[in-house]
């Protein structure tokens, strides 16, 4: 055993014991490692059978994927899109009015985020272990938030489209519910980690629950709440871009039509508009978040 070389200075008996213990520990670690790998491989194989994985088909058809991506960069006339940007982005000035739909997408995300922020804000104080007044109510609020964020927004949107009719309204409500759940969970964790001294101080003066929350907890949590909401806004813009797939407003409808009808250059134009928008929003919210965290530091 290689270890024996390093423990030569010890008496033979002790060195022997050391080497054996070390060997046993390593062997145990290796056994559990092998077991984990076997379980993983079994899971992968089961999933492969259930998920109808066909590696042969993938390998033989893989060029088609790059073919598709390549075709996104050619206009109907067969020219490269870059040769005629005006033709490429024709929808910006003409009928489908992509920019208008893009604005609609952003507004859906904004309204959904803001309503979700208000919902998550209110519920987080009820659900937080340290602020909530009754453990029953806290547990109930936590379950409610869990359901809100576990059901995918597109499922909510599908149901709401039937209830509210086609258009952005079901998209806004679906996003608002999901955001309430997602932000509510994060907010609850923030509230549970606050310094309780200000809260106790206010309670000692006989302040009501609302006053305690307003003056004891809110000043401590506001900047992280804002930071999380800005992050969520960016995610919601992405989500809002596919709401149109089920008829819930935004640019998704146009995107789906152009993919289904093989208008390749339109697909790439809409995707580029979306990617640029998301990157700009990402950049903007990051700036604001940095300023928020910077204003936190001096205190």
């Amino acid at each position: 055993m290689s270890l024996a070389r390093f423990v030569q200075s010890l008496p033979a008996q002790q060195a022997d014991l050391l080497v054996r213990t070390y060997g046993a520990a390593i062997a145990a670690k290796r056994r559990s490692m092998i077991l984990a790998v076997v379980v993983l491989v079994l899971c992968l194989m089961t999933a492969g059978v259930v998920g109808e994985v066909r590696p042969g088909k993938l390998i033989s058809d893989f060029p088609k994927f790059f073919d598709y991506i390549g075709r996104l960069f050619y206009l109907d006339s067969g020219k490269l899109v870059f040769s005629d940007p005006y033709e490429w982005f024709w929808g910006v000035t003409q009928k489908p009015k992509w920019l208008k739909l893009l604005l609609e997408t952003i507004l859906i995300a904004y309204l959904g985020t803001l309503i979700g922020f208000v919902g998550g804000f209110a519920l987080s104080f009820v659900a937080a272990r340290n602020m909530g007044r009754s453990p029953w109510l806290a547990a109930l609020a936590k379950r409610f938030l869990e359901i809100c964020r576990t059901v995918p927004e597109l499922v909510f949107a599908l149901i709401f489209v039937v209830a509210f009719g086609l258009g952005p309204l079901p998209g806004v409500i679906a996003l608002a519910i999901h955001t309430t759940g997602a932000l509510g969970k994060l907010f609850t964790e923030v509230v549970e980690n606050i310094d309780m001294k200000p809260v106790e101080g206010l309670q000692a003066t006989g302040a009501s629950w609302v006053q305690t929350a307003r003056f004891g907890a809110v000043p401590q949590v506001l900047s992280s709440f804002a930071s999380y909401s800005l992050l969520r806004f960016e995610i919601n813009v992405r989500e809002a871009s596919i709401m149109g797939f089920v008829g819930a407003g935004g640019i998704g409808d146009e995107l789906l039509i152009s993919i289904r009808k093989f208008y390749y250059s339109d697909v790439s134009a809409i995707l580029i508009l979306l990617i640029v928008t998301v990157m700009l929003i990402d950049f903007g919210t990051e700036q604001v978040r940095h300023r928020l965290t910077a204003s936190e530091q001096p205190r």
Binding site: C43, L44, A47, G48, V50, G51, E52, V53, R54, K57, L58, D61, F62, K64, F65, Y68, I69, L103, E104, L107, I108, Y110, L111, L114, E146, I147, T150, V151, P152, L154, V155, L158, I159, F160, V162, A163, F164, G165, G167, P168, L169, P170, V172, A182, L186, E189, L231, S241, I242, F245, V246, G249, L255, L256, I259, L271, L274, I275, V278, M279
Partner: protein, 304 residues
Amino acid sequence: MTPTRQSPTRDERQRLILAHPLLFRSGNRQLIKLAAWLAPALIAFCFGFYWLDISWGRVWLGLGRLGEFVSLMLPPTYGDTNAPFDFWRSLSDTTKLWIYLQSLAETLAIAFLGTFIAAVCAIPIGFLAAKNVMANTILHFLTRRFLDTVRTVDTLVWALIWINVVGLGPFAGILAIATSNFGLFGKLYSEAIETADTKPVEGILSTGGSHLHTVRFGLLPQILPIIVSQILYQFESNTRSATIIGIVGAGGIGQHLYEQIKILEWQHVSFLVLLVLAAVMMIDFISVRVRFAIIGIKQGSVAP
């Protein structure tokens, strides 16, 4: 008996004001600051309300109809829902149940394989996109933008593209989830690598370790726990994505959900939603256990 003094005397009050001027400043300035933040937010909100053509009438009407749907959703079932509805009789009709359970299994398989493929394929690009590994600024910048682009295109769009390549079915779903997560994991890996402490790496170099040794014993122990917990978190999130991917025909339970909503079979819809809820919660439960077993820290998953 002397009465308890409830308020400071005038002298004391003056002294307190002098000692803590900030606390006694009138609230107006803070109020103005708050308004400066709130007003644009509210104006944008009202503008959105107007621009999206949302009216309270439609909201109330829709809520009424939604309430009706919810009442029609009860009790959830997978069987026959024809006129003289008998809950126990409908439960004995299990033909649909097996179809639903099978597509649920398909959903889990899509999420699992999609996450796994993405997690493995993103390893090399994660190193390429890390600033401290990739010294070339331009290449680093391009890799980052490439990952951002892949990540921004939604899973559903990738699913539509992959359907063109491998045909309808769960395999397209697996590839779609793998593609969009590839972008995400690449970014997460590179961030983990960038924030890793360089001291262990230097230590290993000083003892004469090779470059591979520094990665295995200096870098890997630091980034593995972060990466594993992110993969597990993403697995849960992908289970949710995999439930809707069927809407465009890429396998999983989504296609049944879509059909049942279209034909207004609300009791089946609620059953399917419950199945999804149960599956996601189960995955959450398992991933917390696995994370605990691997990292030894029991913490709530934190959104990346």
